[in-house]
Structures are given as C-alpha cells and as structure tokens.
C-alpha cells in the first residue's frame, strides 16, 4: 500500500485549497451543504439554527442555551435518552453548542451511519416534547454549568463583565449561559415559543462533511427533511447598539491568585470592508510566539503569563476586538494595562513591517488548509458563515481580500477603532483568600 502511494505522490498536484461544498436548498427553505472528504471513513453531521443569545429578550437571557439542553429530552418517536444512546451504540458522539448567533447540534460518526443521525435530527426539528419535570431538573444542570463557567472561573467572570459593559442595549450585553435570575424565571411556555419560532427548516442549515457521496445522500436528506413544513420567518430586528462616547471601565473583585486585564473595542463584523485588515491585525498581534503581544508582554517585559487578541469577525452583528492578559504574579495590573495601551498606540503611529504583514497573511492562509484536516472544524466554519448571514462563499473572497490588505490599511483601522473613547477596560482585582495563608489554602486532612 505504501509503495503504490509513494509513486503517486511524485506527481505533484497543485495544493488543494477549499473543497467546494455541494449546495442545495430544499423546497421548505432549508439549506444543505455536503462536502466529500474521503480521507477517513467518518463524517460529521451538523444542524445549525439561526438562533442564539442575540435572539433573546431582557429577563430571559440564556433561553436559547436552555432550549439546546432540552433538545436532548426526547420526541414522541424517540423518548428521552434514546437520541444519544442510538448514536453511541453506533460508535458516534453527539453534542451541541450555543453561541451569541447560533445553536448547533452535531453527530460525529462512521460515514455509513450518517443516515441515522439525519433521521434523529429531522425528528427533533419538529417533534420535541417539552416536559415540565425534565425542565426543572435540567435547569439545575444549567445552573451548575453557569457556576462552573462564570461564577467560579475568574476569566469567565471577567469576559462576561466586559461584554455587559461594552454593550448596553444590544443582546450581546448578556452571557450565552444567561443570568441566574433569568434561568429561574424561565417557563416551559418560553421554551415552547422559542422552539416554535426558531426551529424550522427555513431557519436551519444542514451540513455533512466526510466520507460521503453527495449525490447518493441528497435523496435521503430530501426524504427526511422535505416533509417538515416551512416555519415562520423570525423577525431579525434587534435593538441596535448606540455609538460609544468615552471609555468605560469595570473592576471585578474576587478571590483569585492572579489578576487579569481585558480591553475591548467595538468594531464592525465580516460585512465591513475593514474586516480584512482587522482579521490580519488580530493575527499579527496574537498568532504564535513571534506575535507582537507575546514578544512584548510575555517575552520582553515578562508581566503576563499569557496574552492575546480576539476579533469577533464571524458574528451576525458588530462585536468586539479585545485584548487580554493573564498577569504574572508579582506584576502590577496597571503596568500590564499600560503596556497594552503602548502596543495599541504603536499601531497608530508605526506601520507593520513587511515581514509581519506577510507572516500574518501566511498564517491566515495556512490555517484555512489546516482547518480542513478536521471534518468537524471544517463543518463548523461553514455552519457559522451560513448562520451569521455571510454565506459560505465568502471564504474564497475572504482570502483574496486578505492578500490585498496593506500595512496602511491596518494602521487606518487601528486609528479608527482602537481609540480611547471606544474602549472598555475590564480588570480583575484578586482578593486574598479568606484563609490566613493565601498560597497554601487551609486543608483538612485525614478522617474528619
């Protein structure tokens, strides 16, 4: 086997870039994207609904995520627990995730079992049974999840505070997981209404990536999903976020060993011409150990354990470009904030070097190839592009536009968006442990 492949490989093929999805729109409006990857005998099936925390209203933060949990509680045809059991006993893994703009369900499994996952997803697109007892128990599970991710995790708590401060009227204000009070106030009616409004084929994208044949699979997909009637067209008008007029700061105090600082700037999303320069800026600042933030804060100044910049390029509405640092023990949070501000100021006054710019472009391009090594990540990118309204075709256009960005473009967007009046600073101030010795917490040993 190895020898034969060895001979073939000497015929150097052009590097394969994007593998085109087969696209179909069903009669009920559901978009289907199928990507044939014969590399390994596996596939991922993903159903993406255009609903996330941005589609929630004040007082019901976390409803989309709560509904995502309830989607595993069974239908008339497949009662509680049977969904995951069927997938598991067929060697598959299933789960789901909710974001600000989407809710997605997936099954990773052997390619010859794809039909099974499709049948289960088609069934719960319409047939979910919402039971009050199940809801009461699951609400407690979600509250545990909130404790784990936000209440007891300093970084999670700080990023939540940052968004709450940066967005005042847009739903990006609240966390995907929701607030405790909102989780407690939710009712089964709320869930039912959310389900009826958003879980319909015309609000969903089905993606299958793996060792499949699109022509063979499409008739099965049609049989399973086309009988599902088209649902309402959900209204997508949301409260817009007014322009920020001046710096905002928030301080979070809690028991912790190390502090952190985050600085967020409101920026446009993928739909803006400035998105390409912002994406490259993110890469130049934080991709790899040669990136600016790592070299400056971690390597030279040694005031941060880790640093980064994150740009919300693939979001339905304009989001944040934020910088973060986990402050080294012994360093002052003010010093780190100053160091970050200096890096930002430098972007206003100096152009990125040719080397830095080319490196950032190469990193973005290479990551597109590496992304295709995983069916799951490949499908996720397509699902996210479709769910935020960008459309998967934008990938190709994206790379072309990235290649055209100049150092001056990057300086221009830095000057335009990374400004003093547009920034929100979030700082975690660690409080000492209630115990006397913070570095070695009081322990009880032996049998109490």
């Amino acid at each position: 086997m190895c020898l034969l492949a060895a001979l073939l490989a000497f015929v150097e093929a052009a590097p394969s870039m994007a593998i085109e999805p087969h696209e179909h729109v069903l009669s009920n409006g559901m978009k289907v994207l199928l990507v044939e990857i014969p590399k390994a005998p596996v596939a991922t099936v993903q159903v993406w609904y255009r609903v996330g925390s941005r589609n929630e209203v004040m007082g019901r933060a976390g409803l989309s995520h709560m509904l995502e949990h309830m989607m595993f509680k069974g239908t008339a045809k497949h009662p509680k627990g049977s969904f995951s059991r069927i997938i598991r006993k067929n060697g598959g893994i299933d789960n789901a995730f909710t974001g600000q703009d989407f809710t997605a369900y997936f099954e990773n499994l052997a390619a010859d079992r794809v039909e099974l996952a499709l049948e289960l997803e088609a069934d719960r697109m319409q047939g979910l049974v919402l039971d009050n007892n199940e809801f009461q128990t699951e609400r407690e599970v979600v509250k545990e999840e909130r404790r784990l991710r936000s209440e007891d995790d300093p970084q999670g708590a700080l990023v939540e505070a940052l968004f709450a401060q940066a967005f005042l009227s847009h739903p990006y204000h609240w966390p995907v997981i929701g607030w405790f009070a909102d989780l407690d106030a939710m009712s089964l009616d709320d869930l039912q209404r959310h389900y009826d409004t958003f879980y319909s084929p015309n609000n969903a994208t089905l993606i299958v990536v793996g060792d499949i044949k699109a022509d063979a699979l499409l008739p099965t997909i049609k049989d399973l999903f086309e009988p599902i009637p088209k649902g309402p067209s959900p209204s997508h008008t949301l409260s817009a976020e007014p322009e920020q007029r001046g710096e905002r700061r928030i301080v979070l105090k809690r028991e912790a060993q190390v502090s952190s600082v985050m600085i967020g700037f409101r920026v446009p999303n993928y739909s803006s011409d400035d998105a390409y320069a912002l994406a490259l800026l993110e890469s130049a600042l934080s991709d790899g150990k040669s990136s600016r933030l790592y070299q400056s804060l971690v390597y030279d100044q040694k005031n941060s354990l880790s640093v980064g910049a994150e740009y919300g390029l693939l979001q339905t509405d304009p989001g944040l470009f934020f910088f973060y640092s986990l402050v080294s023990p012994g360093a002052k949070v003010e010093t780190v904030e100053d160091a970050m501000q200096r890096e930002i100021a430098k972007l206003h006054t100096e152009l990125l070097s040719d080397l830095e710019l080319q490196r950032a472009k190469n990193q973005v391009e290479a990551s597109r190839v590496f992304e295709q090594d995983s069916n799951f990540r490949h499908a996720m990118l397509l699902g996210q592009l479709e769910s935020i309204g960008a459309g998967w075709h934008r990938i190709d256009q994206f790379l072309e536009r990235i290649r055209a960005v100049t150092a001056k473009d990057i300086q221009r967007v830095a000057k335009r968006y990374l400004t003093h009046d547009n920034r929100t600073v979030a700082i975690l101030v660690p409080l000492p442990s209630k115990q006397q010795n913070a570095s070695s917490p009081l322990t009880y040993q032996g049998k109490p």
Binding site: A6, A9, G91, N95, V141, Q257, D287, A366, D373
Partner: protein, 462 residues
C-alpha cells in the same frame, strides 16, 4: 500558553473538547484512544517502520488528501523521571528546547515557524515528552530543520532559563485559580504517595525553584538520545521522502546508553484518605478515586468496557444518568481509568453546588458499589462494546491525532496488529469480566476523596 476565550457555551464541554483534540486530553495516554471498529470501518493503518543507524524508530503513514505534514517526535522521558527534590525538571527541559539553539535564538525559531503558518510545540507528559512540527507540504524541509535543530542543538541560554522557569512558576500559582486543577493536584498526592506520578508535570513551586541550568543540561544529555526517540511522520509525504529527510536532519545525532529506570510501581492507598480545600466558591469540585492499572495490563480492555458503562460513556453512562439527568446535581461528571507505563489511577470528577456536596459523593459511591455487586445488563454491555468498536476511526481522523496514536502504540509496545485486533479484544469481554474487573480494580472503601470549595458550608460527612 496562549489561550483563547470564546463566547460559546456547550452542553458538555468535556465532550466538545474531546472532539476537537481527542488524544491530547488525559495526558495523551492511550486510555483515551483505545478502540477499533468491528464493522469493517477501520482506517487501513499500517505504518512503515524504519530503524535508523543511530537507533531512532521512524514510523510513516502516508495521507495525500491535504498538503499537510505532521512530524511528531516522542522522547521516552517525562516527569516520572524527575528527581523528587527537582520535580518539574523534565518539563522545564522540554520547555527550553524552543528557546534557542546553537544557531537560532528563541525569537528566530518563533519567527521562522510562524512565517509559514506552521506550528512547533514541545509538551512534557508523565511518561514521555512530545515535540511536534506541523507544516504545509511545501514547507516540509523547514519543519524537519526546525524540529531537528531544537532536539539536537538546544543552547539553553541562561537568560531564557531564568525567564521560562519564572513563567512556569507563575503558571503554577495561576493554576490555583482553577478548582479542578487544585483538586487533581491534591488527589495525585494522595494516590501516588512516594511515586513520581504524585507531582504535576510542571512540578511544584518548592522543587522547581531548586532546578538549576546544570540540571537541565544534564537531563538533556542523558535523556535526549536518538535511540530514545520514536518519530511519527504523517501526511502528504512518501516513505522514501520521509526516510531521506530523517537521514539528512537526524543522521548526525549520536546514540547513547539507554538511561536506567529506577521507579517502582506505585503502592495502593490502603485506607481512606480525605483532603478538603477551602476556597470561596459556589461549587464543590469533587475528585474521588484510587490507584489504577498500567497500559499493558491484560485486563485493560475489560476495564475499558467497565469504565465506559460506569462513567466514561458520556450521556449514556450510569454516573451521567444518575447524577446529572435524574438528580440535576452536576453539569459534567465522568470516570477515568488512566493507564500509563506504570499503573495510573482511577477517578470520578464532578462539580456541584455547595449544598449538594454530600448527595453527589453518596451518589458516586453508590454507582461504584453497584457495578461491583451486580452484573451489568446485556444491553449495557452490547452498547458499550459497539460504541468502543465503532468510534475508533473518529480517533484517527486528523493527521495530528494519527501521529500521536501511532507513536504511542509503538511506545507502549502494543504492536501494529493492535489496529486490526482491537475489535476482537473488546468483543470478547463478557459480563462476568466486567464484574470481575469492577471488583478487582474499584474500591469503595479505600479511596482518596478531595473536595475544593466552601468546606465550612458544605458540611461533608464522607
């Protein structure tokens, strides 16, 4: 070191991260990647194996679908080889490989790999260390050049030594903000008392502070030898091309005497051991368990099936069903049987609100007892086996995963027939085997229990 903060919430994050990087979790050990389909789905994995003149084991798997090459070196030395008073030495040595060579500074190494959008990563584990380069096919020569440079010619500059050691010391302090990390650290100290597995890979504040540059240089000279290295190469490259690149870049590496291994098997706990750690938190993080088995234990496959039914089987496991789905006590709960070169450990971990700490611990103990006292049902057995057999290809579906698995199969001496025989080994596990290994390897009396959280409020009775 860089970590991404995302605004996405998962129903069960442990499972999602599982999908994204299966083999990386649980210290890259084989427990997490052990299975092969019985239904004719197996990827046809037959690595070409070459032993070089200087004793390096080279394994090549050709995959020509994408223009990617993964070059993955496994060095047979990890934190288990740390001297007890210098715990953290293997990890510090590994961390310094990327921080300067005879001809490249730390920054030059970073710039060269970043410029082509590739990655270079060195990670120490308990039993071994991995150093991996990931590049596009067109950059394969650069990938070999940089990987060979950091493995053969590290310079260990003293300013980098000081900086990196401070950085790791900072990370050890920062890890105390993660209750799960604090709990596991305490648990390992209880379970692996007197054994090198008791300390974290990155060491402890008091021991890492004692490590000197000379210690690092000595550790490197003794442990980093071509005859101690398994090099797995996976991707868009032929066996001939790979062999030529290995010769060109690693051919001058001098072999040396195989380092002696003195560590004995970890002993059993012998009694119940409890540690409660007070922190101002809303949840109790609970870890309960004891010693385990080695990867080469003949009961490995029966234990794998048993553990799947008990608590490793995701949404269909007994612990998940009882603690999460029926009682709503936790978001994530899982049991782990981590098999290492020497016997590893078994543990269950979960987080629950302070008020339900006792209820959750009782629930875990009840399930451990139940799987010992009565045979599992035919349905549970059949479903566990079909999952373990059927999910195998998912664990090999990217070049990075495949390179890690192939290197570890070689490291543990499983032989490449492992890929073909695995389904048969799982298939022959019976209900009686499951109960036998539950009785033999689970102990609801002599266990270690660690709770991190608001201890005074939790009023723990266990």
């Amino acid at each position: 070191m860089q970590h991404r903060i995302t605004r996405t919430t998962h129903r069960h994050s442990r499972q999602l991260s599982f999908c994204a990087s299966a083999v990386l979790i649980a210290g890259g050990l084989l427990t997490t990647l052990a299975c092969l389909t019985g239904s004719g789905l197996a990827a046809d994995i037959s690595p070409a194996k070459i032993t070089t003149a200087n004793g390096m084991t080279v394994l090549v798997v050709e995959q020509h679908f994408l223009p990617i090459v993964e070059i993955h070196a496994l060095i047979k030395a990890g934190s288990a080889q740390d001297p007890p008073d210098k715990a953290g030495l293997a990890n510090l040595t590994a961390s310094l490989l990327e921080e300067g060579t005879a001809t490249r500074s730390s920054k030059q190494l970073a710039e060269q790999i970043d410029f082509v959008g590739g990655s270079l990563a060195v990670t120490a584990h308990e039993d071994f260390t991995t150093a991996a380069a990931r590049v596009l096919k067109k950059d394969v020569d650069l990938g070999f050049t940089l990987l060979a440079d950091i493995l053969l010619h590290p310079a260990f500059p003293s300013q980098e030594f000081d900086r990196v050691r401070s950085q790791i010391l900072g990370e050890i302090i920062s890890d105390n903000d993660d209750p799960g990390h604090v709990a596991m650290k305490a648990f390992n100290h209880l379970v692996f008392h007197n054994h090198p597995y008791r300390w974290s890979v990155n060491g402890m504040e008091e021991t890492l502070s004692k490590v000197t540059l000379a210690d690092v240089q000595h550790f490197y000279a003794k442990e980093y030898l071509p005859n101690q290295v398994i090099l797995a190469i996976v991707g868009d490259i032929t066996v001939e091309q790979a062999a030529a690149l290995v010769q060109a870049h690693f051919g001058t590496w001098k072999k040396g005497p195989t380092p002696a291994r003195t560590a004995k098997k970890p002993g059993a706990i012998g009694k119940k051991a409890v540690q409660f750690i007070e922190k101002d938190l809303t949840q109790s993080t609970i870890v309960l368990g004891h010693g385990g088995i080695s990867r080469t234990n003949q009961d490995f496959y029966a234990v794998t099936v048993m553990n799947h039914i008990l608590g490793a089987g995701g949404f269909s496991s007994r612990l998940m069903d009882s603690i999460r789905d029926k009682q709503g006590l936790a978001y994530g709960i899982m049991s782990h049987y981590e098999a290492r070169a020497m016997p590893g450990s078994f543990w269950v971990n979960l987080q629950t609100k302070t008020e339900t700490t006792n209820q959750a611990i009782s629930g875990v103990l009840a399930e451990i007892k139940a799987i010992r006292e009565a045979p599992v049902t035919d349905q549970e057995l059949a479903e566990a086996k079909s999952f373990l057999m059927g999910s195998f290809p998912l664990r090999l579906d990217s070049t990075a995963k495949l390179a890690q698995v192939v290197a570890q199969v070689e490291f543990f001496g499983l032989g490449f027939e492992y890929f073909a025989q695995y389904p048969a080994w799982i298939e022959r596990v019976t209900k009686e085997d499951v109960q036998r290994v539950a009785k033999q390897y689970l102990n609801p009396q002599h266990y270690a229990l660690v709770v991190v959280g608001n201890i005074s409020k939790a009023k723990i009775r266990h």
